[in-house]
């Protein structure tokens, strides 16, 4: 059973912006866009590429390898070559602290 874990301060990630965080040996991309924070797996479902190194436009994150785009709010794959959503995790803010809870696998 995973718990919320503090990963960063609100001031660490501008809007729009992103940050790679490590929780329990897992890498997660923390994204700040449209005034809210989201967390998705650092894994493109097409080829396993590192999404955290991709370009963020609005709330869409593009894989640096082949350009597949993902909606960071839902994890949904928006364009080819990815067809499956990437994983998302719950985010909450307490004061100035951002906390993430890894989804149950």
């Amino acid at each position: 059973m995973s718990e919320f874990q503090a990963v960063a301060k609100v001031s660490d990630v501008p809007d729009p912006g992103k940050m790679l965080v490590e929780i329990d040996d897992q890498l997660v991309v923390l994204v700040h866009c449209d005034g809210a924070f989201y967390a998705i797996d650092d894994v493109c479902t097409h080829d396993g590429g590192p999404l955290g190194e991709g370009e963020l436009v609005g709330c869409t994150l593009a894989c640096p390898r082949h350009g597949a785009k993902f909606d960071v709010k839902t994890g949904a794959a928006l364009t080819m070559p990815a067809t499956k959503p990437t994983g998302t995790h719950e985010v909450k803010i307490e004061g100035d602290t951002i906390l993430i809870k890894l989804r149950e696998s």
Partner: protein, 437 residues
Amino acid sequence: MSVTTTAAGFTQESFDRFVAQRNEPEWLRELRREAWQKFESLPMPSQRDEEWMRTDIRTLRLEKFGFPSETIPTSGAAPHGLLTHGVELGGQTIAIDSRPHTARLNEKWAAKGVLFGSLDELVASHGEIVKKHLFRAFTPGYDRFAALHAAAWSGGTLLYVPRGVTVDEPFHMLSALNTGGVDMGHTLVILEDGAEATLLAETTSLVEGGTGLHVGGIELLVGPRARLRYVNFQNWSAGVWHFAHQKALVDSDASLQWTIAALGAKLAKVNQHVALTGPGATAQVNGVMFTEGKQHLAYNTLQHHEASQCRSDLLYKAALQDDSRTVWRGMIRVDEGAQKTDGYQRNDNLMLSEHSRSDSIPGLEILADDVRCTHGSTTGRVDDEQLFYARCRGLTRKEAVRMVVTGFFQQVFDRITIESVREALGLAIARRIREYE
């Protein structure tokens, strides 16, 4: 059980201390120092490298581990292996956290000139043989892990079979890890002309779910007309990082049967390389992988035909459940003079869950013009019709899935000629199959 490793990280200071602790000949110290320089200068592999593109090691913290220490475990019972049930052994080595624990060799084989035991200990007594062969099939500068292994190897096993000696009892080597432990075992197998032997190697963790680091190296030197059967069963717990460089040199008219089985490790990245160096050499390579949880097993295989009229046949089969992942990149390389080559490679993957993933990348690189080289790859799910049929015959769903998985692996089990290995692998896999809806 005494703790045998210190988490001092891999620093110049801890390296100097490690080398100073070991009473080794100067040539070996020099090899270690050269390799350490390479380790210091090489970058950590990253996903920008083609070979590591699908293997993410960004969460590996090498500083949490350290060089194997000289503290020899003196208490605690020897761990048990799975491969030797009912087998009369010619000898056995056990290492814990890369330090020798047990080494024994049947007198009758020792009398014929066979050497089998801890490589650490045999360097002292048979240094010339080790010096002649060490790193013939290992490249310390290949990548950062190879360099670390060459600098820090400890424990390990040497098997030397002199010319014409046939050993009809298998040898067994077991490497065990305490949680947080480090295994840097180096395996060196030397079969001289016409020798025959079987070596069963396996790994285990002493603590279920324990963490650890394995950075290993295996060299199999199969002389002319020699025959080697080698089984390597990786069965670490799911918290262990496993990096290995494994290579065989198979000389003229020699044969090698190499079986790799992998059920354990958090993440494994293995380079398995078979070089057929003399005319008429043959190699059969078998791979059995069963993964679960978030395991990631990546195998890079190379069948290198350097001489003419050689035959290589590789079959890797993997079944995946939960969120696990396997990567197989296989290459058959045929050199310009290697005419009449017969090379085959095949990889089959059985997906037992929706979120598992398997990447299968076969390849051929052929510079000769009179060869037969083929490859194949399949990836699929359990056939619902087969399950339905089996359930109509009174099996539960789990029993039916188990039967399908067993059938999937049967093709590779049929190629493994050692009964105790077939049985151990079959049982270990059957125990892991989950209930699926």
